[in-house]
Amino acid sequence: METIPLQQETEDYSFLPLIHDIIKCMDKDSPDVQQELNKLKTKIQETREQILAMPGIETNLEQQQQQLQTLTEQVHTKNQLLHKYKGLCMFDIPKA
């Protein structure tokens, strides 16, 4: 999977730079304060929507790891079962 873009995305999820920009604008009495506030608001909303769309976070990490282990064991068991039954004694059926 693409790890670098994901790391960039996590870094983008920090809100401190935006808050810092707002505080700077307020200190300078800049007219862009409202614009920066809107940016913050928009980013919070987008982050919220992104969280709702992310797969696999309906459970916590421990539960998910447990489910993953269960699935792995099931696959292993069924593979063994199939291998066992396919390898049973074969009858030589004489052709009539």
């Binding site: 999820y13 808050i19 505080i23 307020m26 709702l52 696999g56 976070i57 916590n60 990490l61």
Partner: protein
Amino acid sequence: MRSARSDANMASSEKSTKERLLSTLDDLEVLSREMIEMLALSRSQKPPQSGEDNQVLELLVQRDGEFQALMQQAVEQGRQQQEMLRLEKELEKRDSDIQQLQKQLKEAEHILATAVYQAKEKLKSIEKARKGSISSEEIIKYAHRISASNAVCAPLNWVPGDPRRPYPTDLEMRSGMLGQMNNPSNNGNVNGHLPGDALAAGRLPDILTSQYLWQSTDVSMGMLPPHHGNEFGPGHNKENEDDVEAMSTDTSSSSSDSD
């Protein structure tokens, strides 16, 4: 407040990652709004409370850090979710393989059960035949007796008009033991009926000799009355031809009420 927060953290560990992310995001939103409002107020005449400012700032930074960690965890969970989907697909394939194998085993069991059942039935038949075995000579003798009465095939010299029949005629039946049982008082030959005494004595009158002409000359002695084994044959046909013609006429009638 910090103990309450730790309790909240412990409780939040049971929450899903999504819930924790949304909760942290809400906290970030509230804290950032509060921070900005405090800064805005500080520009007005109200003197700022530095302690409260610092506290809010610390919380904001802390929440942001938590949010970042949760997002990394969410990304990791996303990768595991993909792995789980791959394993689920593999599980589905294995399940269908197992079902297919089960179906084939069931079919094989059915075939083998049928074969075993048929083999057992054959063994039973063999055993039954072995217990009730009859010698082939007896069967051939019996077949010879049946076929000797010309019941399955007409005699070689049979022509249309010949009164002989492959079945017992009406007169023959009436002259038999059953017929005599029904008419014990008959003394004369009425319409071809015989007295029972004559029959019981084992001597058949001439009128009935023609009834036996349909039997072939090579019939076995056991089938015929002992006195008449050598008296039958084609030579007697002329003597009883008229009687046979009459009898055939009688027997040809649908209602042969000869009483």
